[in-house]
């Protein structure tokens, strides 16, 4: 039996914040598919619901209505602990502000997803060192985050997002804190290490300088997906 062809399949996703007169409709019936092996960018103005949508996709926020299947599975139906564990195994995260633990070395930061999944400390750190080499941070494994540049910190964050080989990596504004050249390098690393035929990458961004890395770009406005464009790169790379 073949597995699902979609990494993510969202149908009619609605998310509200607040209640009564203070209610805000952040997502107004979103339909979106993220295909296996693609890099999808979610773009749009601030407050349009991009971050809410990737939070729902990543299973860290419950939608009020609709269904979001992750690799064919509706994880909202799982018990809370199972759902947390599933997230720990299947999803990697890259954050705008890196969110590296300041008291841990780069290698220890990268090892965290493995440790959460029960890998012994020494093995996890050894694997983390390999992943740091993949993101061109060889020799910086024992540096603290404060000893690294912004670009290096984001590469550590990328290594952390992929160290446990998740099938979906979600990134929130991964280049917004970086200059253009560094952002470009970080995206190249991300593209190289996080995209594969059985995996997918969803990036929320404002940064038009990195659109060139996308296979498809979904534009959001006011809680809706207003368009999904296949990029030239996506057309080329996904062509049969």
């Amino acid at each position: 039996m073949n597995g699902p062809t979609s990494a993510v399949q969202c149908t009619g996703i609605v998310k509200r914040y607040g209640s009564g007169e203070a209610e805000v409709l952040a997502l107004r019936g979103i339909d979106l598919e993220v295909r296996m092996g693609e890099l999808l960018m979610l773009v749009g103005p601030s407050g349009c619901g991009k971050t809410t949508l990737i939070s729902v996709i990543a299973g860290i926020l419950d939608q009020d209505d609709g269904e979001c299947l992750l690799f064919g599975q509706d994880i909202t139906r799982l018990p809370a602990t199972e759902r947390t564990r599933y997230r720990g195994q299947a999803i990697g995260f890259v954050f705008q502000s890196f969110n590296l633990i300041p008291t841990l070395t780069a290698a220890e930061n990268v090892a965290i997803p493995l440790l959460i999944n029960g890998v012994p400390f020494e093995s996890a750190v050894a694997e983390a060192r390999v992943r740091l080499r993949d993101v061109q941070l060889e020799g910086r494994e024992d540096a603290l985050p404060t000893q690294l540049s912004g670009g290096q910190q984001q590469r550590v964050a990328i290594a952390r997002a992929i160290v446990h080989r998740p099938r979906l990596v979600v990134c929130d504004e991964p280049t917004s804190a970086l200059d253009g050249e560094t952002g470009h390098k970080v995206m190249q690393v991300l593209k190289d290490v996080a995209v594969g035929s059985d995996r997918a990458l969803v990036i929320v961004t404002h940064d038009a300088r990195i659109y060139e890395f996308a296979d498809r770009i979904a534009r959001m406005e006011d809680g809706h997906i207003v368009s999904v464009e296949q990029t030239e790169r996506g057309t080329t790379e996904n062509a049969p």
Binding site: F95, N99, T103, L104
Partner: protein, 385 residues
């Protein structure tokens, strides 16, 4: 993840030291103050402890505690000796007398008159001289604390007071007394110097009193239960008779009920606990708040509530263990320094350590609880905000 939890804690040195300092100070207060209290209370009956040989203390029924000796007629001694089951009974004088120092200063001292023949009730540890020297003319033995403290020879201008030595002369109620020995005795509740002499000589120092027999010290025969002999003495003589332990308890309870010592020390201990809990709880909670974003990251990355609870609990237990260790260690140093000193001293026992460790455990668990609550309520989605 436990190593990560520890690295998060130990890496933030300012907060880590703040937390363990708070716990160490709370531990110090919670061990030291009751330790001093126990020491003070043990002083109330230290004289009974020092007079270790007799099984039974016979006294006037009006006596409320050991320093409240109500003199009896000497004839009571013979009545007690006649009670069935008494192996021996000896007299003991205990009273306050004024000692004049070389510069004319009068120092109130505790004069102990021991049975002339047996010297039962004398100090167990002689530092200088021999107990038997009390049979020499005008002989007295002074306790170490008194000899180096309040009875020390007055200093000449610009010099320190010199400790009383064997051969020095004192005046007790205008009568000559010659120091023939220095002994170690348990510190008393009132911290008065203790002067030992024979019973006969003590009665001459205290001439103004008509009845001079303070206590009768009794040893029960080997085959007679102490309780039976005690009851018999009470019945046959009308005197109060108590075992040494009963007399200690009675003295302890009297001081406990008639002074505010327990209230004052108890207040400090409670304040120590509350301040310790508040400071530790606050700093630990702040530490958690500072790391809340990272706990949210862990949650998003798949850390279960159980894992996060255990991480925080481990952090709390570590600071509790280290803080308590430092506090208990500092208290032990204090206890060691003050052990041989006649003034302030404290008792450090396992019960005290156990009790304070439980109190510290309550503090750190409280701190962990409020932190865990915050973390568990945290929405992992905040990682994207």
């Amino acid at each position: 993840m436990f190593r990560i939890a520890l690295k998060m804690l130990l890496g933030d040195r300012g907060k880590y030291f703040g937390i363990i300092t708070g716990i160490a100070l709370a531990s110090l207060l919670m061990i030291q103050q009751p330790g001093i209290l126990i020491s003070i209370f043990s002083r109330t009956y230290s004289f009974i402890s020092d007079v270790a040989l007799p099984d039974i203390w016979v006294m006037d029924p009006m006596v409320k505690y050991v320093d409240d000796s109500q003199p009896m007629l000497d004839t009571q001694l013979y009545r007690v000796r006649g009670v069935k089951g008494v192996e021996w009974a000896v007299p003991l004088y205990k009273g306050n007398q004024r000692v004049r120092l070389g510069d004319g200063q009068l120092v109130s001292s505790n004069l102990i008159g021991l049975d002339d023949a047996t010297l039962i009730g004398g100090p167990a540890v002689m530092l200088k001289g021999k107990l038997a020297d009390l049979r020499l003319p005008d002989a007295v033995i002074v306790d170490e604390a008194g000899a180096t403290g309040r009875l020390a020879k007055p200093a000449s201008p610009g010099k320190k007071a010199e400790p009383l030595q064997v051969g020095d002369i004192l005046e007790i109620n205008d009568k000559r007394a010659r120091v023939v020995g220095i002994a170690r005795a348990g510190a008393t509740f009132q911290s008065q110097p203790i002067i030992y002499t024979t019973y006969t000589r003590a009665t001459t120092y205290a001439l103004s009193e008509r009845k001079l027999l303070s206590y009768i010290l009794v040893k029960a025969k080997a085959d007679e239960p102490v309780a039976n002999v005690t009851a018999r003495i009470r019945h046959d003589t009308g005197m109060a008779a108590r075992s040494a332990d009963e007399f200690k308890d009675m003295t302890f309870l009297y001081i406990l009920n008639n002074t505010s010592i327990l209230t004052n020390f108890g207040f400090v201990v409670i304040v120590g606990f509350i301040v310790g809990a508040a400071v530790t709880g606050q700093i630990f909670y702040n530490f958690t708040l500072d790391n809340l974003r990272y706990f949210a990251v862990f949650k998003a990355m798949g850390a279960t509530d159980r894992m996060l609870r255990r991480m925080i609990l481990l952090q709390a237990l570590l600071v509790g263990f280290v803080g308590f260790g430092l506090g208990a260690g500092a208290t032990a140093v204090f206890a060691a320094i003050t052990r041989e000193r006649p003034g302030l001293s404290m008792t450090l026992n396992w019960q005290l350590l156990l009790g304070s460790s439980i109190a510290v455990a309550v503090i750190v668990l409280f701190a962990a609880l409020i932190s865990v609550r915050k973390v568990l309520k945290l929405e992992p989605a905040v990682v994207f905000k």
